[in-house]
């Protein structure tokens, strides 16, 4: 932990994260254009940047008696949580901050999203955002325990909470191969924590956009940026935890990390377009009655193998 982080990592990390977020947004726009049958769907690639420009200059709307302070805290927390969750992920060989408890740190930062979304939903003093905020808490309670168990299973396989050690433990065989249940649960919960794709009820179109219904202008821009950054971080974390990190033939570690991250990200974005929304009143039960026992069993097996 006390080794000095190279200065270039501090600069490169936010740039990489922003690039990944933009990539996810671009791919999402293209898929949307294909689904709606827009002619020349590749033209939709510039949509995210156009949206950025629009939101920068857009005037803010105001709701009646909002709690602006809490709302802003919520919006900024989303970006900050995504960035801080990402600092423990290796950009190649080594992360920006190589904490000895990296996995717990990642988990803690990602839980901050609960607070972020609830505050953003509470702030505008309006029904739909508030409903969205509560929906995300319900989602959090549904996905968090299986998610934690999946993370702990990876840590157990490596015998360490340091993400670098988890990568090191996968030199022979990727964790995704011999802990498939944990990997699958991780992917489901990654989608849930980034309130993305089928788990996007917190910002669902059936409640007029949920948490972000009343956000406009720069507020909305920061919120959306944070959401894509979070998705990128969730996808990027799957690489060191389950997909062997930067290990791979021929190419350098950073390139392998980038390729694997982009592949996971693409799968998550694609899943959004293939699946209907999952409501938590139904998913909660499966999560607790099926996913938790499944991950515990997986953990038991991993524990026996490691011993």
């Amino acid at each position: 932990m006390h080794e000095v982080t190279p200065a270039w990592a501090l600069i490169a990390f936010p740039i990489v994260l922003a690039a990944l977020a933009l990539l996810a947004a671009t791919f999402d726009s293209v898929l949307t254009a294909v689904a709606t049958g827009r002619p020349a769907p590749l033209k939709a690639m510039s949509d995210p940047l156009r949206e950025v420009a629009r939101l920068v200059v857009q005037q803010r709307r105001r709701t009646f008696m909002p709690d602006i302070l809490l709302m802003r805290i919520g919006i900024f927390t989303l970006v900050v949580a995504a960035v801080l969750a990402g600092v423990v992920l290796p950009l190649g060989d080594r992360p920006v901050a190589d904490l000895s408890v990296g996995i717990v740190w990642f988990n803690a930062m990602e839980v901050c999203v609960w607070g972020s979304l609830w505050l953003t939903g509470w702030g505008p003093n309006s029904v739909y955002p508030l409903t969205g905020g509560y929906r995300f808490l319900a989602q959090g309670l549904a996905y968090e325990l299986p998610h934690m168990f999946a993370l702990i299973t990876a840590a157990l396989g490596a015998g360490s909470l340091r993400i670098g050690d988890v990568v090191g433990a996968q030199r022979g065989l990727w964790f995704a191969v011999w802990m498939p249940v944990a990997f699958a649960v991780y992917l489901i919960s990654a989608v849930a924590m980034a309130f993305w794709g089928p788990m996007n009820q917190a910002v669902g179109s059936d409640i007029a956009g949920g948490v972000r219904a009343e956000l406009s202008g720069p507020d909305r821009l920061i919120f959306q940026a944070g959401r894509y950054a979070l998705l990128a971080v969730a996808a990027a974390a799957a690489v060191p935890l389950f997909l062997g990190g930067g290990v791979g033939p021929v190419l350098p570690a950073w390139l392998w990390t980038a390729l694997k991250t982009i592949a996971v990200l693409a799968v998550l974005v694609w899943a959004k377009h293939r699946l209907p929304a999952i409501r938590m009143d139904r998913f909660m039960e499966v999560s607790w009655m099926v996913l938790i026992p499944a991950t515990l069993l997986q953990m038991l097996i991993v524990g026996i193998v490691v011993l």
């Binding site: 689904a35 709606t36 409903t131 929906r135 179109s205 059936d206 007029a208 009143d281």
Partner: protein
């Protein structure tokens, strides 16, 4: 305790868990994405669970019953072919399907339904439409996730005799979705039928009965106890055609 900022404070009432909690009065509609335009459901919410609901409509700009039009004009006299009517029926169901799938959060399937609807209305050939529709139908029917999310919502008993496509609206949301899919397939197949249209069985039931009235009558009971997300799905699965009501008012005026 006064009213903060002049807002009416929410009152309290018993909820389904036996607690006495705050209530909020929230109107849903008339303008919402994938919502029957002109419909307003005044709800009393506790959290996101609907405790009471009343239905009203606001008049829109439409003055003709687009989806029922072939059947109505056949009754008035001019020769309307069955194929033409079936084309309209298929488009109507695809419109409803697009809305329900949109509310269910499956945006790409919803977009596909809408694209099919537009092509069917724009005189696509039968073979082409049937082929593309089959692919769409297979995709929707195959989704176990969708079925899991839709079943047991908004159950209407057979005894209600609620008019609707393919013999009624009974069953849950998933059943109604399945009925739309079956009916659309049948309607597309009959699109080239050149015989004369004789009956009055429109896409949403007998056109003379104005089935939307009956749907709106049972809607509040179905919504009570449902969460917002479930309520949206229930409304979308009934998809009342409010144009049918509007012409009632106009008839009274005339």
């Amino acid at each position: 305790m006064g009213a903060p900022g002049g807002l009416r404070m929410a009152d309290r009432g018993p909820d389904r868990d036996g607690l006495k909690l705050d209530r909020l009065h929230v109107p849903m509609g008339p303008v919402l994405r994938d919502w029957p335009s002109g419909l307003v459901v005044d709800t009393t919410l506790q959290g996101d669970v609907i405790q009471q609901a009343t239905v009203r409509t606001v008049s829109g700009s439409g003055d003709q019953r687009f989806w029922d039009e072939p059947w109505l004009s056949a009754m008035r006299g001019p020769h309307v072919t069955r194929g033409e009517a079936e084309r309209r029926r298929a488009a109507s169901h695809l419109d409803s399907l697009g809305r329900l799938l949109g509310v269910a959060g499956w945006l790409s399937a919803a977009a596909e339904a809408r694209r099919l609807r537009d092509r069917v209305l724009a005189a696509a050939s039968r073979e082409e439409a049937v082929r593309d529709y089959m692919r769409f139908e297979r995709r929707v029917r195959r989704s176990r996730l969708l079925r899991w999310m839709l079943r047991d919502l908004g159950v209407i008993e057979e005894a209600c005799r609620l008019p609707g496509p393919g013999g009624g609206m009974s069953g849950d949301v998933a059943t109604r979705l399945g009925r739309w899919l079956t009916e659309t397939g049948a309607a597309l197949t009959a699109m080239d039928d050149a015989s004369r249209l004789e009956d009055g069985e429109g896409p949403r039931g007998p056109v003379e009965d104005r089935p939307a009235e009956k749907v709106l009558a049972v809607l509040p009971d179905l919504l009570v106890g449902a969460e917002l997300a479930a309520a949206r799905l229930i409304v979308a699965s009934l998809d009342p055609d409010l144009d049918q009501l509007r012409s009632v008012h106009e008839a009274v005026h005339a």
